[in-house]
Symmetry: C2
Subunit: 415 residues, 2 copies
């Protein structure tokens, strides 16, 4: 199985100088599809509709932008912040964790660090935990970049397949049988990108049991913690006191406050772990952008109506996209997402190469979807849809898809 839709430029001159591990990784197909679409639009003026990268279509709320305007009046916005982040922001994050996840007594100056988005938080966590050839368990289908992040540090991703039927459920036996002496951590996003799965309390407890038994660290990407549907509750392993010392909770402001461009997130862990993660963060980025940290302060201090409105919009868009998908029952089948804003739909044709399919759809229908194989072996034969985009685009995109699938059917499902 390929993990990439396109070959990189193919310019071989310097290949001998490229590290083996980086030769092994790929650019996440989530971004690769956007880059391809950009090239395509440039060449052909094609108007591409994206169900690809998960970006809320609305702007950052005005109260946050006002916070940024105020920040521009302060000279320290020009300057590096303290390396672990602005203290006020760490205090706000700590309070938020205590309130929304019922974590007890979070110490902002010892246990919270501000990062360049959740992505960098996870990168710091992995560098801190794994040495060359160490293994990390990945619930899969899982976030594509987690795979590359592990390989980039010389580690080995070990895929723990989730059970699609019933909504991509976690199976403790499937997980435990993959644990070896080399296993250092278990990593997942919850709610899940790309499946929309939300771990139950029982599933989180199962993971915790394994972590304690086998001395693993639990890295949890909780970017979408605010976004669940149908009264499903998000449950964080950090809220289990017996797990607290072995959880690295990574979070973000990107999706909750429509701030994906600002690159600001955080990590929360025991200070015995954070101390080491800070060293990696320092070498990697020095500090998160001051202006984005101040935007995050404004986001947390302001009224939270915008979050409620966002949830309302995502809920409507989910309904809309499910309805559109239901109009293609002969082609696609899916588990309804209980959180986040993604659907990983199964293509009801045998032996589908999801990369080939995604490229065809981009070039022939002008719609970006993400090939499921990007998310792990169980993702093959699937395609991921983001429903973070505008309702009118969801409609137009599916009109294009329906037409394309009709043609595809008429040519015998050849790619």
């Amino acid at each position: 199985m390929s993990r990439s839709a396109i070959e990189i430029s193919g310019k071989k001159f310097r290949t001998a100088n490229i590290s083996k591990r980086v030769r092994k990784i790929v650019i996440s197909p989530i971004k690769e599809m956007s880059i391809l679409a950009d090239l395509r639009e440039e060449k052909s003026d094609a108007d591409v509709i994206s169900f690809g990268q998960g970006i809320p279509w609305w702007d950052t709320p005005e109260y946050i932008k006002n916070g940024i305007r105020e920040a521009l009046k302060e000279v320290d916005t020009a300057k590096y912040t303290l390396e672990p982040g602005i203290t006020e922001l760490r205090v706000l994050v700590a309070k938020q964790l205590e309130k929304s996840k019922r974590v007890k007594k979070v110490e902002p100056k010892k246990e919270v660090m501000i990062t360049v988005g959740c992505q960098e938080a996870i990168d710091c966590a992995l560098a801190t935990l794994i040495d060359h050839s160490d293994e990390v368990l990945l619930l899969e289908p899982g976030f594509a970049s987690h795979i590359e992040q592990i390989i980039q540090f010389g580690g080995k991703p070990i895929f723990v397949p989730l059970q699609e039927r019933g909504g991509w459920r976690f199976d403790i036996k499937e997980c435990e049988k993959r644990i070896t002496k080399k296993t250092r951590a278990i990593l997942f996003s919850n709610p899940s990108n790309p499946t929309g799965m939300v771990l139950t309390k029982k599933e989180v407890e199962d993971i915790g049991r394994l972590a304690i038994k086998h001395n693993l660290i639990v890295i949890t990407d909780e970017t979408y913690d605010f976004l669940t549907y149908d009264n499903v509750k998000h449950f964080s392993p950090a809220s289990l006191p017996r797990l607290r010392e072995r959880v690295i909770l990574c979070g973000s402001f990107s999706k909750k406050y429509a701030m994906t461009g600002y690159r600001v997130g955080f990590a929360y862990a025991d200070e015995g772990i954070i101390d080491h993660m800070l060293k990696v963060h320092d070498a990697l980025a020095i500090c998160a952008p001051a202006i984005s940290q101040k935007a995050a302060i404004a986001a947390l201090k302001g009224p939270q109506n915008s979050v409620k409105e966002s949830i309302k919009k995502f809920t409507e868009q989910r309904k809309l996209m499910c309805r559109e998908l239901d109009s293609l029952p002969h082609i696609l089948q899916y588990e309804k997402p209980m959180g986040a804003y993604y659907i990983l739909a199964k293509v009801k044709r045998p032996n589908i190469d999801s990369f080939k399919l995604a490229i065809k759809i981009l070039y022939e229908a002008n719609v970006i979807i993400i090939p499921g194989a990007a998310f792990g072996p169980s993702g093959e034969g699937h395609i991921r849809f983001s429903f973070a985009g505008e309702p009118k685009n969801i409609k137009v995109g599916f009109e294009r898809l329906r037409k394309w699938f009709e043609k595809w059917e008429s040519r015998g499902y050849n790619l």
Copy 2:
């Protein structure tokens, strides 16, 4: 020799879970001193003067901030940019490289990527070039974080000592004798942080000769390229056509435009290298902050008077600090910096532990200076001063230092 002023929290509970390589790295003492000072100010209300982290004391120029205000009106500022950066910015960087460094025909969409400051550009370069136990030559004293960045990816920093007398000169023989089959790259900042050394054209050519002979990649950190004194000219290895394919040029907007807090920089290299670096960048940060990229666009498109004014201010501050240092000839001796805004002064007492000295000076004189040992073995017995701070603070800081050194003398130079 210790590479750290303080021990991290010492909480041992999770040490068994920490990777060996991260146990080996330290937080850069440049930031560590700021963290210590912050703790100190919090506890004692001490008013600390910093000659530590190199941050221009003035604000980001108004024309750049206006660019940010305009950017807040555009919805795409809220969103991820293309992973390699906003195309307009890549085009501007390419033009700048052609103009100021006479690099020929830079291809913005293939050879330029926008990063989270120069720091991330170098991190991407190192991950791309080195595997476990590979070696990287570091001209030293050199930028402290380069050491940690190499170790973080499992590599081994090999120190190439510069010759202090005459201004920290590069010696090709000292360099060549350290090259082994494991050597993958040579890394330096030019103008140099911490010495203020600027490589001559001849020295750059020498480095290039070694790179070609031994198939090495040259990673050059050119953050301070705009800032040289006494008619010294900066010369980039990227401007040598025969080296072009093996140079990774990393740059920044931080110092030139008083934008250290914005975390935006770039890398320029052959597309056969950039293609791989982009994969690391994706896993590490997704993209540089959109708002900071737009600030950088405003910086490059606007009038460049502010840069001239900055150079004028740095030149005056250099003169002032040299004068202050000259008032302590029995304690300190230094090579006049020809670029950047640092002086690495030798403490004229035998066997000085620069970490102990820096901590004493912070706690007893309320002045931050950076221990020279942070920059490599040749830095031991030295302390680094930044003259990016306000003239009045330079004066007050040196009054404190003179008093402290008097006391130190009276107690027989004990630490």
